[in-house]
């Protein structure tokens, strides 16, 4: 019952965002602020995760490819496809669900508890439009960009680890990267990143916006938002893979 009422309230919250803007300039400023926080604020962690994932992929793939019949450049192909199809969009977004999701939920939860949302309502501002919509749009704009950066850094990390450990030379790695490349994989990864961006911004926004109680409830809402976002991201990963691949 709670599950159904949560779905209903979530849909009503989304519907409530689409109202006339009181002042486009103020909404634009808020959107830029959110883009900066979501995009640049997450760049560091995305870069670190991507490089290490790429590096580990190279080493572990080589470890499993024991047959001398398989050319070593195949490692680069596997690393490329794994990073593009799964690691860059899914793993990075699961981490971002923790980083961005908890920030959104706790920010809105704190605003709710300290009556800042009520203060905005009293001023005649549509708080769903002003507080939630810019976060979702910013996530939809910035997360696909972060995923593209994660793809590039992941592959670079794999190349670096291959060269550093003497597994595969940069030239062979580059040769492997070029062979059997399917551009649709990048398109598919971007579709996934848009879906994940919506999930990891809207779910925490919903839980944060509707917090009731005190500081403890903010923490609970934040944790719940991150857990549900992660589960939905993994579910969406399966559903999209089954539908589009």
């Amino acid at each position: 019952m709670t599950f159904l009422s949560d779905i209903g309230r979530f849909l009503l919250t989304l519907k409530g965002m689409f109202k006339k803007l009181e002042n486009r300039q103020m909404y634009g400023k808020e959107l830029i602020r959110q883009c900066t926080e979501i995009g640049f604020g997450s760049l560091g962690i995305v870069a670190i995760i991507s490089v290490f994932i790429g590096a580990v992929s190279t080493i572990q793939t080589t470890y499993q490819l024991v047959s001398p019949l398989v050319p070593i450049s195949t490692v680069a192909e596997i690393v490329r496809d794994t990073v593009i199809l799964e690691f860059a969009p899914t793993l990075v977004c699961v981490v971002l669900a923790g980083v961005i999701g908890s920030r959104i939920a706790s920010e809105l939860g704190n605003m709710r508890i300290s009556e800042q949302i009520d203060a905005l309502e009293i001023m005649g501002i549509n708080t769903k439009t002003y507080l939630i919509l810019p976060k979702i749009i910013a996530a939809l704009l910035m997360i696909p960009l972060l995923v593209i950066i994660a793809m590039a850094l992941g592959i670079w990390g794999g190349r670096l680890a291959g060269a550093a450990s003497g597994i595969i030379s940069p030239n062979l790695f580059d040769k492997g990267l070029m062979s059997n490349f399917i551009p649709y994989n990048v398109f598919f990864a971007l579709i996934k990143s848009y879906v994940y961006a919506f999930i990891l911004s809207s779910i925490p926004a919903y839980f944060g916006y509707h917090v009731r109680g005190g500081a403890l409830e903010i923490g609970k809402a934040s944790t719940k938002a991150v857990v549900i976002s992660c589960v939905l991201i993994l579910f969406a990963d399966y559903a999209l893979s089954a539908l589009l691949l």
Binding site: E22, N23, Q25, M26, N110, S114, E115, Q116, D118, A119, E121, I122, M123, G124, I125
Partner: protein, 270 residues
Amino acid sequence: MINVENIQKKFGDKVVIEGISAQMRAGQCSLIIGASGSGKTVLMKCMVGLLTPDQGSIYYNGNSFTAMDHKSKTLIRKEIGMLFQGSALFDSLTVEENIMFPLNMFTKDSTGEKLKRVNTVLDRVNLSGINKKYPAELSGGMKKRVALARAIVLNPKYLFCDEPNSGLDPQTSLVIDKLIRDLTLEHQITTVINTHDMNSVMEIGDYILFMHQGKKDWEGTRKEIIFSKNQQLNDFIFASEFLKDAKDMRMLEETGKIPNDRDLDQMIQP
């Protein structure tokens, strides 16, 4: 003027406020008083539209707020300023940005004009020169005054204050009370204050509504409250021996048996 007519609000099966009617006039401080859980905050939230009453109507200058569509309510809300119990300042914005926020959202004034207005209201609440400070750097009393400055920056017709003195020392409470009273008189604002601060009741309560268990139990002026025979009201307001003595003193003052030479303006001088 605000007219409240037969307001009722329930949460589930629990009736929180029932049959509340009141009239709050421009240029007066109207106080809603009552023990914790008596429904004061719910009544105020119904009045400003944060909650929708289950029954009854609220009229702003004769226009039914409860029957209005969203667009008309938004227009009325632009004439409302509200001071929240916890100040509700935006943490990520400076004092100047906090006060400028309603101006940025609802006016097309130039930055210079907006800054001038911010400085005027900051000066009015005696907080000049703190423009660049963040809320976290301010004391409780300063936060309340900044929140008051933000509430009046658009020259509201209606000012709502939810527990404006909670958590403040008596001297700062007097400063806030005096500010609210002066602003109410200067701009002929209809001011509604939710409080259980007895100083406020006795100093600025032009109209007092006493709530008990969700119902209106008494209404009158600060002079009438001294002579009230309502037991619930007397138990609530004059709860301690000290306050009972103060009441007796006031009765003597009001009946002219001893002189009353107190002045709120002088009381808050350093």
